[in-house]
């Protein structure tokens, strides 16, 4: 069957199946609508929209649980203190906090004194309604009402019906019944045969069980079954060839995402700055590391050993706080001297060890550094750091980060997992085609707020008429071959 006939068949079947599916979910929809309406009581905003806005604008500084401080205050707590002032003051604060401080607003000054010199980013582009949305989301989370469906009498059954039913047992029962029928029928046939043959005066030789098992037919059947099973396993395994879920290689630098993204809350996009605008998320260059590590010269876990690797790569002299000119032409011997001296000095500072102990320590550490920073193709510590690539898509797959990060607004963790908790990063997702496709089937396109999608007139019409609640990536062609393969 060609694709198009399949497609036609699919469309046809969906035509009849959809109403059934719809019936099943309509009761849940009622429930969800109820929950939404109850939430809106807390503010004049839409908390779902607020969630997206919060993630995009606030989450870098404010804790998502609304209870703990991060760079900025815990919003669930601090917002309550604004209730003494006009609501418009709060909106003003969000849009331009420095302005309000300059005006001498008492609450603003109070916060400033608490958190200075950290300046809250101004959000002049946020509309009042946007802020209301955010506020109602914050409120919902702080009070624990957001995201938890309220228990409504009579809706309990509806919730249960949403649980995916495990229908496998039906098949097993059917299998058993049919098996039984086959055995019974074959017995009947055999008996009838022997009766008819005995009528024909033939000598009937009853087969023993062993005889039946070693008969040609049975052996053939077993071999066939083995071939089928073997092929199935081979194909299954072949499909999984090259997939590397949970791949967690050792990197040349013991870089910890937990410390950087977790403890220090550095935004993913700060280092992987390609994710917003390019196909690649970009492994940051050593120059990017240097924006902090010019000052931060020792690691919390590793001391000098790891950060010295960056210095050796780019040619930064931590003793003199300068970049070495013509570093690429500097003899290896001098490179070694500079960094061994650095390690020695630091070691002595930290442990007041003797010079000879410290030098021995530095020599050891330096030889480790050289080992991890060089390879078959790279003979010197100077130059780019050869990270081991964790996420490998096959060459015939085109994937674009900016499409997913900027346009779709996906959270990095959606595919990469909680990297902020990983000391050593591992591949979180299978990165298989089925995995991609499933997400494309489920994910809703941000249809309303991007004029680009205006050309999808039929969908817009249906949404307006209430015939359609959402447009998924699949609906705009997200499952088509040449969206990813070209």
């Amino acid at each position: 069957m060609s694709n198009n006939t399949l497609r036609a068949f699919y469309k046809l079947s969906m035509k009849y199946l959809k109403p059934l599916v719809w019936l099943r979910f309509s009761s849940i929809a009622t429930l969800i609508i109820f929950v939404f309406s109850s939430l809106t009581l807390f503010g004049q905003g839409n908390p779902d929209k607020g969630k997206d806005l919060f993630k995009a604008n606030c989450a870098a500084c404010h804790n998502k649980n609304m209870k703990d401080k991060l760079t900025g205050p815990a919003l669930g707590v601090t917002l309550a203190d604004w209730s003494a002032y006009p609501h418009s003051d709060l909106l003003k604060w969000v849009k331009n906090s420095q302005g309000l401080i300059a005006e001498g607003h008492p609450r603003a000054l109070e916060l400033w004194n608490q958190y200075k010199p950290v300046v809250m980013t101004s959000f002049p582009t946020l509309a009042d309604q946007d802020i209301e949305d955010i506020l109602s989301y914050i409120d919902g989370v702080a009070k624990g009402t957001y995201g938890v469906p309220a228990v409504v009498p009579g809706a309990a059954t509806a919730i249960q019906s949403e649980k995916p039913e495990n229908t496998n047992w039906v098949y097993w029962v059917l299998f058993a019944v049919f098996g039984l029928v086959v055995v019974v029928l074959s017995n009947i046939i055999r008996n009838l045969n022997s009766i008819s043959k005995s009528k024909d005066q033939e000598i009937i030789k009853e087969k023993t069980l062993l005889g039946t098992l070693t008969s040609k037919k049975m052996l053939g059947l077993i071999i066939l079954a083995m071939i089928v099973l073997g092929s199935f396993t081979t194909v299954q395994n072949a499909i999984h060839l090259g997939r590397q879920q949970n791949y967690q290689p050792t990197q040349p630098i013991n870089f910890s995402h937990k410390i950087h993204a977790g403890d220090n809350k550095i935004d993913c996009n700060f280092c992987h700055d390609g994710a917003r605008r390019s196909k690649q998320s970009i492994i940051p260059g050593a120059s990017t590391c240097m924006s902090c590590h010019k000052a931060v010269k020792k690691g919390t876990l590793s001391g000098t050993s790891e950060i010295t690797k960056i210095y050796a790569s780019i040619g930064f002299n931590p003793l003199a706080d300068t970049f070495i000119t013509h570093y690429d032409k500097l003899p290896e011997k001098e490179v070694e001297q500079i960094y061994q001296k650095w390690i020695t000095d630091q070691y002595i500072d930290a442990s007041s060890a003797t010079l000879s102990d410290a030098s021995a320590f530095a020599r050891n550490q330096w030889s480790d550094i050289v080992k991890s920073m060089t390879s078959n193709t790279k003979s010197t510590v100077k130059g780019p750091i050869e990270w081991v690539r964790i996420h490998n898509l096959p060459d015939h797959v085109y994937f674009n980060h900016s499409q997913h990060v900027t346009v779709a607004g996906l959270d990095c963790a959606k595919c990469h997992g909680k990297v902020q908790e990983m000391d050593v990063v591992r591949q979180y997702s299978p990165l298989s085609m089925g995995w991609c496709i499933n997400c494309h089937r489920e994910t809703e396109v941000k249809f309303a707020d991007n004029p680009y999608y205006d050309s999808y007139i039929n969908y817009h019409k249906e949404i307006k008429e209430g015939k359609r609640s959402k447009v998924t990536v699949e609906d705009i062609g997200g499952l088509e071959c040449q969206k990813c393969h070209y």
């Binding site: 060609s2 694709n3 198009n4 006939t5 399949l6 497609r7 036609a8 469309k11 395994n237 072949a238 060839l241 090259g242 590397q244 290689p249 390609g274 605008r277 390019s278 196909k279 690649q280 970009i282 492994i283 940051p284 260059g285 050593a286 120059s287 990017t288 780019i314 130059g383 780019p384 750091i385 050869e386 990270w387 081991v388 690539r389 490998n392 060459d395 015939h396 085109y398 674009n400 980060h401 900016s402 499409q403 900027t406 346009v407 991007n450 004029p451 680009y452 050309s455 999808y456 007139i457 039929n458 969908y459 705009i476 062609g477 088509e480 071959c481 040449q482 969206k483 393969h485 070209y486």
Partner: protein, 1070 residues
């Protein structure tokens, strides 16, 4: 012959309804007769493996795969920058405006780079000079950068005749040691239109005052320069304004293909060829006099056949007729043209010219003649017709031709006399190859003590030099150019030099001890250009008061163009006595016309495999030079052929008293003057990269010089004899992938008819159609009628069958995007720029001569060539043909694995990894646009026999080299053996354009997405758009009354709209 006029035909075989040809058109995949295949010996695939070997291999591969599966996956590295440059974001292309300069070609371009490596050339749309167009050569030039056979470091000759590696310091010391203020140095180059290069040369001449700079051109316009010097006391090449001329009368100049500045001319000329209103249709006219079917002749409205030696006579006769009609006196000429029709036409052409001139319209007469008297007559005619200041601009003259042919003759004498101490050969100048007296030159040249070459790749001249100071490729260079006086174009490097090379201008500055030569390496010439612009162009312009701003802006735009000034008044020399100076026609001998081919040009482009594999627009042959021989209708029932040449690819021996070619394959050429042959220059290189050496035959020595020393690109007294043999690998794509345009046989019987369908259903039913809507043409005189026919045809086609297998998809198709193309066949001149652009953009492999011979070329886009009209001198119909992305695609529903299917945006998608290579789709494609990877072209296969070695040396695997692979577009998959591929409508560009609009949160506009072919086209013939966009570009084009769809009647619902070809013939000449 008149009975055949309404038909289209693609070549001789189709015209004479050759049985084997017809049979071949039935099947998509051509099979060579097996005996032929086995006897060839030199096949890409050896068949010495038995079935047992196959089983062994099978067992081995299964075993290997099992072991491989048990091992760990390879460790892949992700290597970031150390210092990430701000301007480079990996994954995002950067575009830089620059200038393409190679050989005699100059063009403002935009270079697409990815992660710091140039991968694609686009047109500069800001330029009114090129109008955003490019040429096939410009498109292919990016591959030259990664040529692995370039000269990689400075060298000095050793005892074995090759270069020893030396350092630049040593080379400079050696060269400067030979220089003193009295040194008689000659700097030899092709015409240079770069003001800064000329300034650098003049610093050298100032330092060593006995230095002379000699410019010459392999295909020169020496006579035009000399004629203008005599006519106006200005040794200049005029600025031709084809956009102003209502009638162009052209004696042999190939201005749309190769002559001087083809992109400038073609893009201007096409402006006058676009039908704007249908009430009162008006387009310009082109009348061509020539012997050999040229690229321009192919696009002419009327073509008159004359012998090469008769060109002067024809010009003189036209002059007399024009003079007579305008009341002036003629010159005395004797003789008549051997073609009676051409003789008769002169009066009509003169009438046409004078009528237009009297109506105040500009006309234009041009010629490629290299005879001074003939060019003076042309000047005089243009003056009589009032063309100066209108279609010819002497103020804004062209800088692209400056060479005077006889300078080289003088140089040879001087070198023989020992009065030259040093010769520096700049750029692509290759006098040891591209002169009629190249042999004499080489001999004399060897007598010069110091001979320095500054070429980028080895050639015949560099092989006889003593020192080599290799130049950067233009994509690594700083530079500028002034192709026309009012047009400046800047060149900037887009990649750091790949090898230890140095710009030749820097070398000149160093040797001249210019103060700037002491600057930091790599910045010398850059600073020099800046300073030069500061004192020249900056002082002329009025838009900027700050030089830095001006310079930055110029670099950004790539061009600085000044408003066109009015042409100057002219004083013309008397021409009445020139009758005796024009070429005297010779009678009774075969004559050869030598022409510059589109691909390899004068030979400077022969190193480029993309150009070698671009089919010649006329002969459609690749990887070879072919001899055009005439074929003509006897006026009754048969073809007459020249000298028993019955099949294309037959070998001939060609000789004159000067030169001889033992074996050259012939192609029977319609529209070739009888008793004349055509032969391309630029082939038969003996030194160069593997793709140049051994390809085609050397033809420069067939040329002669006239009394002024001007090179004559033709010769008489030629003997042509069949050798009796045939080129076993003759590679012409003409009969590959034919659509089967068939009409009536010789007796007038329709032969493309399904008799059964007629009997059962009646005439006119789809199955019995004879009028396949592949080609549609009209002339202004029958335009109304043809448009009416077209309308009726389209209505009928729609009513025949408007069913679809896929109902209900309109819902998806009518929203979002639905892509399509529009191709204007009147604007398509067949230049091949789109084809090379497609190769460059989509990583289309080159396959080499043998594979093309076996119909295995991989190009996603082809330009079909058909003939129609007068058999003796037919019109040529060029039709770019690529995947039509049918909504009812016949290829899709035959794929057993669903590897090709349809997207909601109307793209016919191809998933390579699904394809198992059944090739059913290709068999079912009525447009024959699908290509199968018979071999591995990416050097990724485990088995060496599956790999293809396209270059003539049979060893070089093209994409094996890591340097060459840098040219690949990282956004397009490199396909493996055994899969089908085809035009994707540049889906990577579509996705990129969509993403950009999404990120910027705006709707997608026309022009956001341009496919590679669209950006390459010099005439704007190809347009890309969204069918769903109301009042959009595509809607505008598709609603044009001339638009039709190829094979609309079979209801494929294709999405490439073609606009019919419209000509404007002079009826008196038909």
């Amino acid at each position: 012959m008149s009975e055949l006029k309404e038909n289209y035909w693609s070549g001789v075989e189709e015209f004479i309804q050759d049985e084997s040809f017809i049979k071949q058109t039935e099947s998509e995949f051509y099979d060579l007769p097996i005996l032929n295949e086995l006897s060839e010996g030199n096949t890409g695939v050896e068949s010495s493996h038995s079935r047992r070997d196959f089983l062994k291999y099978l067992g081995f591969s299964v075993g290997a795969a099992t072991i491989a599966a048990g091992c760990e996956s390879p460790i892949r590295k992700a290597i970031p920058y150390v210092h990430k440059p701000d301007s480079i974001v990996p994954g995002i292309a950067n575009y830089y405006a620059s200038t393409f300069i190679k050989g005699n070609d100059v063009l403002p371009i935009v270079v697409k780079t990815r992660e710091g490596r140039p991968i694609k050339i686009e047109g500069n749309t800001l330029s009114n000079f090129s109008n955003g167009g490019t040429s096939a050569r410009a498109q292919a030039s990016v591959l030259d950068l990664y040529d692995t056979d370039r000269l990689k470091q400075p060298g000095a000759i050793n005892s074995r005749g090759s270069f020893n590696k030396v350092s630049w310091e040593d080379l400079d010391t050696a060269v400067m040691g030979k220089l003193n203020p009295a040194s008689k140095v000659v700097i030899l180059s092709n015409s240079i239109c770069s003001p800064s290069t000329l300034a650098a040369i003049s610093t050298f001449t100032t330092a060593y005052p006995a230095t002379r700079h000699i410019m010459y051109d392999p295909v020169s316009s020496s006579a035009i320069l000399m004629a203008n010097e005599r006519s106006f006391a200005k040794r200049i090449f005029p600025g031709y304004r084809f956009d102003k001329a209502k009638l162009v009368v052209n004696f042999g100049a190939d201005f749309l293909g190769t002559w001087v500045s083809p992109v400038e001319y073609a893009s201007a000329w096409v402006k006058t060829r676009k039908l704007k209103n249908f009430e009162n249709p008006d387009i310009s006219r082109l009348i061509q006099f020539e012997s050999n079917m040229s690229y321009t002749g192919a696009n002419a409205d009327n073509r008159m056949l004359i012998k090469p030696s008769e060109q002067g006579l024809a010009i003189a006769k036209l002059y007399n007729s024009v003079a007579a009609l305008t009341g002036g006196g003629g010159i005395s000429v004797n003789g008549t043209l051997s073609n009676a029709k051409a003789e008769k036409s002169i009066a009509s052409v003169a009438k046409d010219l004078v009528t237009k001139s009297k109506a105040g319209q500009a006309t234009l007469i041009i010629s490629d003649s290299n005879n001074v008297a003939e060019q003076m007559l042309i000047n005089k005619m243009n003056d009589i017709l009032g063309n100066y200041g209108k279609s010819i601009d002497l103020t804004n003259y062209s800088n692209q031709r400056k060479g005077i042919d006889k300078d080289i003759v003088t140089l040879i004498t001087e070198m023989n006399g020992g009065s030259v101490d040093m010769v520096i050969v700049l750029g692509d100048a290759n006098p040891a190859y591209d002169l009629p007296d190249a042999k004499q030159f080489t001999e004399a040249y060897k007598k010069v003590p110091v001979r320095i070459t500054c070429t980028i790749a080895p050639n015949e001249t560099s092989s006889v030099c003593t020192h080599s100071a290799p130049d950067h490729h233009f994509l690594e260079s700083w530079g500028d150019s002034q192709p026309r006086r009012d047009v400046y174009s800047v060149m900037q490097p887009t990649i750091a030099p790949l090898y230890n090379t140095r710009q030749c201008e820097t070398s000149l500055l160093k040797w001249a001890k210019h103060p700037m030569a002491a600057l930091e390496a790599g910045t010398e010439y850059q600073t020099f250009i800046r300073e030069n612009w500061k004192s020249s162009v900056f002082t002329v312009q009025k838009d900027f008061s700050n030089f830095d701003n001006f310079w930055d802006n110029s670099l950004h735009d790539g061009i600085v163009e000044f408003p066109a000034a009015a042409g100057s008044a002219t004083v013309l020399a008397d021409v009445s006595g020139l009758g005796g100076s024009i070429t005297a026609p010779t009678k009774g001998s075969v004559e050869v016309k030598l022409y510059e081919p589109m691909g390899v040009g004068s030979g400077a482009f022969a190193n480029n495999p993309w150009l070698q594999e671009m089919p010649d627009p006329i002969t459609r042959s690749v990887w070879n030079s072919t001899l055009h021989v005439p074929i003509w209708w006897n006026g009754d029932d048969d073809f007459l052929v020249f000298k028993d040449f019955h099949t294309d690819g037959q070998l001939a021996t060609v000789a004159t008293h000067l030169a001889k070619i033992e074996e050259i394959p012939i192609v029977r050429q319609f529209g070739q003057m009888r008793e004349t042959i055509g032969m391309p220059l630029g082939y038969g290189r003996s030194m160069g990269s593997p793709s140049a050496v051994g390809v085609g035959q050397y033809a420069y020595n067939f040329m002669t010089r006239d009394g002024d020393g001007n090179i004559q690109y033709w010769s008489d007294k030629v003997t042509v004899t069949p050798t009796g043999g045939t080129d076993g690998n003759y590679a012409s794509v003409q009969d590959h992938h034919t659509l089967g345009v068939r009409g009536k046989d010789k007796s007038g019987k329709e032969i493309n008819v399904d008799e059964k369908a007629i009997m059962n259903i009646g005439n006119g039913y789809q199955g019995s159609l004879t009028d396949r809507s592949i080609l549609k043409s009209a002339d202004l005189k029958n335009l109304d009628e043809r448009l009416k026919e077209l309308k009726e045809f389209r209505t009928e086609a729609a009513s025949l069958n408007n069913e679809t297998l896929y109902t209900g998809f309109d819902y998806l198709y009518k929203q979002g995007h639905h892509w399509g193309l529009s191709i204007d066949l009147s604007a398509c001149i067949g230049c091949g720029a789109c084809q090379v652009a497609c190769v460059s953009e989509n990583n289309v492999p080159i396959v080499g001569k043998h594979e093309v011979h076996r119909h295995h070329e991989m190009t996603w886009m082809r330009i079909d060539r058909y003939y129609y009209g007068d058999v003796e001198s037919p019109h040529v119909f060029y039709q770019p043909m690529m995947c039509q992305h049918c909504d009812n695609a016949p290829c899709e529903n035959v794929c057993p694995v669903n590897a090709t299917n349809h997207s909601a945006e109307g793209l016919n998608q191809m998933a390579y990894n699904r394809c198992v290579g059944t090739r059913y789709c290709a068999n079912n494609c009525p447009y024959k646009v699908r290509r199968f990877n018979w071999l591995d072209y990416s050097s990724a296969d485990l088995f060496v026999h599956n790999e293809n070695n396209p270059l003539p040396d049979g060893k070089t695997k093209f994409y094996e080299d890591n340097i060459i692979r840098m040219v690949l577009n990282p956004d397009v998959t490199v396909r493996s053996r055994g899969v089908i591929e085809k035009c994707s409508l540049c889906v990577q560009r579509i996705q990129e354009g969509k993403l950009k609009a999404k990120i910027e949160k705006r709707d997608l506009r026309d022009g956001d997405i341009k496919t590679a072919c669209v950006t390459a086209c010099p005439t704007g013939a190809i347009q890309f758009g969204d069918q769903n966009k109301k009042d959009g570009l595509l809607e505008k084009h598709w609603n044009d009354p001339t638009t039709y769809f190829v094979l609309e009647e079979i209801n494929t619902k294709s999405k490439v709209g073609y606009k019919m070809k419209v000509t404007n013939q002079n009826n008196d000449l038909v």
